[in-house]
């Protein structure tokens, strides 16, 4: 029997970013005991990186906004393969979740009459993002953290879960290790909420931190739950590209929301050259109108730089491929030009985009108030994830819930900027609420000792092979290179088939990974254990992307460059077949109620 510590909670939340914290707070407020597992220290999760704001139809800046417009924007952005129920709940509940943050101490930027200020963002018809300069994520995670620490939640920091435990088909706990001493931990619980974020580390160029290895996706999949929409990966159009060591770090969309423009090497605003049909009516057709929009002119339509991220990324790739890129292989993003249009431009930019100013100044020796930035697409977010019920966030496995980036549905084929921070609040709360309910009605299960033993044995195998084995970091790098080259922004069937072969080869290498030293805070060991998740989600992305023989949202197929209405009515579900292989199944999207259909029609 492996040596381990046992903890018991009614609800175990895995992941302590916005979704996990919000779920833990809600479950705890419902009167059940809650354990919160974080892969890093508390308050360092990826939410901290979110910059632009929280999308919520508060209508503080433009009173034409309401949940219906937000719903229609989200569905349009997601190309209508979203879980419409989640999009509806999200649009309706986001304003309350933002006001609640304020009541817990968040300090948002203000309108002139003292209400929460909202800013423009891609794909949102009206200024909708509640924000704090360009560090909204930090404000949010800190507010939740500082509220949560007084709720009696047991926080397990620097702890990674490696398997979920089941009893008679129901999830009854989780097993993992803590980094500090390398000891195993058993968590018994009546319900589990996954809130582990995304998968960006499967790609070479990414805005995501080391934690983003698809743990929750993989835990759920291995436990028999279904994943959905895994082909939809968001490549954010604006990541830093120079110098090489900062490649991929995010440059917030708020730069464009505040009037920043994209130009190619010829100085042209190339985004005007291709405006998708379904956005034409609401997009400016000249630079002047676009500028007026960013400055709050309600009669103006938004500039094409604020089209959805999937589209902007593809336009940037097109410019680079056509030889109109910037010196280091990107394009130019310019905010400094607004100095010609507004008084005190330099100060204005620093005030609206303080961390961007800081980031470029310190990491790239570039003053964004004086010069354009060089940017290019970076892997940012996965729309796909655990398939959940829209109301309760429960997966297809009883007792297993998921919220935030590791759950799927709200975003469809493409996520709008700002909808993630609102998603994690709305569905983090719901997951916590329903997990607590589930826990209250259920009882503890029996832990399968054999499952524990097996997980522990696999986890320490790399030590048996020692430093003579494969280097975990090199396997990870090889995977990142391959996914970037073969299953990236532009995809084709032959390349993705090669990626499947490549994944087989990497699985073999993974089984040979060895680590030296002991178990205490051994980064090499942690990297070795993350490989299983990375390979699982990479396979799910690749297999789903092969099946979707069309282009939609974040998924672009060079061999099927157009949208195909036949694919507009279905999602691809990923699950483990009885023989242990990964299978992809078509799932028709349930019919939308007439009321929601009418809203979409009205807003067209």
């Amino acid at each position: 029997m492996p040596d381990y510590q046992t903890h018991e909670h009614d609800v175990l939340v895995i992941g302590a970013g916005g979704a996990g914290l919000r779920a833990a707070i809600e479950a705890s407020a419902a009167g059940v005991s809650v354990g919160l597992v974080c892969k890093s220290l508390l308050g360092k999760a990826h939410t901290v990186m979110a910059e632009g704001g929280i999308a919520a139809a508060l209508a503080n800046v433009d009173d034409r906004d309401n949940w219906k417009v937000h719903f229609a924007d989200t569905m349009r952005g997601g190309q209508y393969v979203n879980n419409w129920r989640m999009a509806e709940l999200h649009a309706k509940e986001a304003p309350d979740r933002v006001r609640e943050l304020e009541a817990w101490g968040a300090v948002f930027d203000r309108t002139s009459d003292g209400r929460i200020l909202q800013r423009n963002f891609g794909g949102h018809r009206y200024p909708r993002l509640a924000h704090v300069g360009d560090r909204t994520g930090l404000e949010m995670i800190r507010t939740l953290q500082d509220h949560g620490i007084h709720q009696g939640i047991d926080v397990h920091m620097e702890c990674t879960i490696i398997t979920l435990l089941k009893d008679h088909g129901r999830v009854v706990g989780a097993f993992g290790y803590e980094r500090e001493r390398g000891r195993f931990k058993l968590f018994k619980s009546k319900a589990v909420v996954l809130a582990t974020g995304g998968v960006g580390r499967a790609y070479k160029i990414t805005s995501n931190s080391w934690e983003y290895t698809g743990d929750g996706h993989t835990l759920a999949y291995d436990a028999g739950a279904e994943l959905v929409d895994m082909e939809f990966v968001q490549f954010h159009p604006t990541g830093m590209i120079w110098p090489p060591s900062v490649r991929g770090i995010l440059v917030t969309e708020a730069v464009r929301g505040e009037g920043g423009v994209l130009r190619n090497s010829e100085g042209r605003r190339f985004m005007f050259e291709e405006i998708p049909e379904n956005y034409r009516a609401q997009t400016a057709d000249n630079e002047e109108e676009g500028w007026r929009y960013t400055q709050g002119d309600k009669s103006a339509r938004r500039p094409p730089e604020l089209l959805t991220r999937d589209h902007v990324s593809r336009c940037i790739v097109r410019e680079i491929k056509a030889g109109r890129g910037s010196p280091h292989g990107g394009v130019f993003l310019d905010i400094s030009w607004i100095k010609a249009r507004i008084p005190n431009g330099t100060e204005h930019i620093k005030k609206k985009l303080p961390s961007m100013y800081h980031q470029f100044k310190q990491l790239a020796d570039l003053d964004i108030t004086q010069e354009p930035m060089e940017i290019g697409p970076t892997t940012h977010y996965i729309m796909g994830g655990v398939r959940v019920d829209g109301d309760t966030q429960m997966s297809t496995v009883p007792g297993l819930f998921a919220a935030g980036e590791c759950a799927a549905g709200i975003n469809g084929a493409n996520r709008l900027g700002g909808n993630s921070l609102s998603d994690i609040l709305v569905f983090g709360k719901r997951a916590g609420e329903f997990a607590a309910k589930f826990a209250k009605s259920g009882k503890s299960g029996t832990i399968d000792a054999q499952q524990l033993e097996e997980a522990a044995r696999r986890a320490i195998e790399p030590f048996d092979r020692g430093t003579g084995g494969e280097n975990a970091y090199q396997v990870q790098y090889a995977l990142q290179d391959m996914m970037h080259d073969l299953v990236g922004i532009v995809r084709t069937e032959p390349e993705m088939q090669r990626a499947l072969d490549g994944l087989d080869a990497l699985r073999t290498r993974e089984r040979r990974v060895g680590v030296g030293g002991h178990r205490e805070y051994n980064s090499g060991w942690h990297a070795a254990l993350d490989l299983h998740s990375l390979l699982t989600v990479s396979e799910a992305i690749t297999r789903s992307a092969i099946e979707r023989r069309e282009s939609r949202g974040g998924h672009f197929r060079e061999d099927y460059p157009d949208k195909d209405t036949a694919f507009g009515t279905l999602n691809f579900v990923v699950r483990k077949a009885p023989d242990g292989r990964m299978e992809i199944v078509r799932a028709p999207i349930p019919g939308m109620p007439q009321e929601l259909k009418n809203i979409i029609e009205e807003m067209k």
């Binding site: 890093s40 209400r115 961390s355 030293g517 805070y521 090499g524």
Partner: protein, 250 residues
């Protein structure tokens, strides 16, 4: 600085002891210390313990001492350092060492819990929320930029040299307390706690914390000194003291 080499002298060891070890590695344009550490970890020392997350100065995980200076490794460019001699990278000194560059910072999380939580006044706008002027939030927003890297705690002599973790909450938590005290909606009174439990008086304004703050928060001038003034106003003002005395007699 095209593809040259540099040596990084990195602390390897745990609470029982350890030593600095030299790792020569390739360096290229734009690299930061964390890049070099990662490269060494991936190529030469797989088990090297280091914390990091965002690599963009936003999460405050990769705090360390670079050539003796408390810094975020992700925001320390190699072109700011003299690469003709080894670059020393060690863990923060104020906290107990776990391994290599990783220290036990858990005390910070416990200390924060002892500070009374945010307590807003009841909503007073017609829509059930509040109206707050931008001017009133700016002071607090400076403090809320804090990324909890704990470099200010590391450099504070009360904690670093005197290890007074029981008596003094340190600059980070004074900034946190200031953010609450100056929050336009907050109604809690933390002044007596600041004096007694949190030990604001131990700060003797050497401003070391302000100097190392990667977020450029004016910790001493804008947070700590105003808190000290509030303690004096509330607890040492002779008129108020007399007034309190008389009231107690009633």
């Amino acid at each position: 600085m095209a593809a040259e080499r540099a040596t990084f002298r990195i602390w390897r060891g745990d609470a029982q002891g350890g030593t600095f070890q030299d790792y020569p590695t390739k360096v290229s344009e734009g690299m930061v210390v964390l890049d070099a550490v990662h490269q060494i970890q991936a190529e030469q020392a797989n088990d090297l313990a280091v914390r990091w997350n965002c690599k963009a100065g936003k999460c405050g995980s990769c705090s360390a001492e670079v050539n003796g200076n408390p810094r975020l490794m992700c925001m320390t460019r190699l072109n700011q350092l003299d690469l003709s001699v080894p670059v020393t990278v060690g863990p923060m000194h104020a906290f107990p060492l776990i391994r290599d560059l990783v220290t036990d910072v858990s005390w910070n999380f416990e200390a924060k819990k002892r500070i009374k939580r945010f307590k807003p006044r009841p909503p007073d706008a017609p829509d059930g929320t509040w109206r707050i002027a931008q001017g009133d939030v700016e002071r607090v927003q400076e403090f809320r930029k804090c990324i909890e890297c704990f470099l200010c705690q590391d450099v504070c002599h009360v904690l670093r040299d005197h290890q007074m973790f029981d008596a003094f909450i340190g600059p980070r938590h004074l900034v946190y307390a200031a953010a609450l005290e100056m929050h336009p909606l907050d109604t809690e009174n933390r002044i007596p706690d600041l004096k007694r439990a949190h030990g604001v008086g131990y700060c003797n304004i050497t401003k070391c914390c302000t100097k190392v703050c990667p977020e450029s928060i004016t910790i001493t001038d804008n947070a700590i000194i105003p808190l000290k003034e509030r303690v004096i106003d509330q607890l040492y003002d002779p008129v108020a003291m007399l007034f309190r005395k008389l009231r107690t007699r009633d």
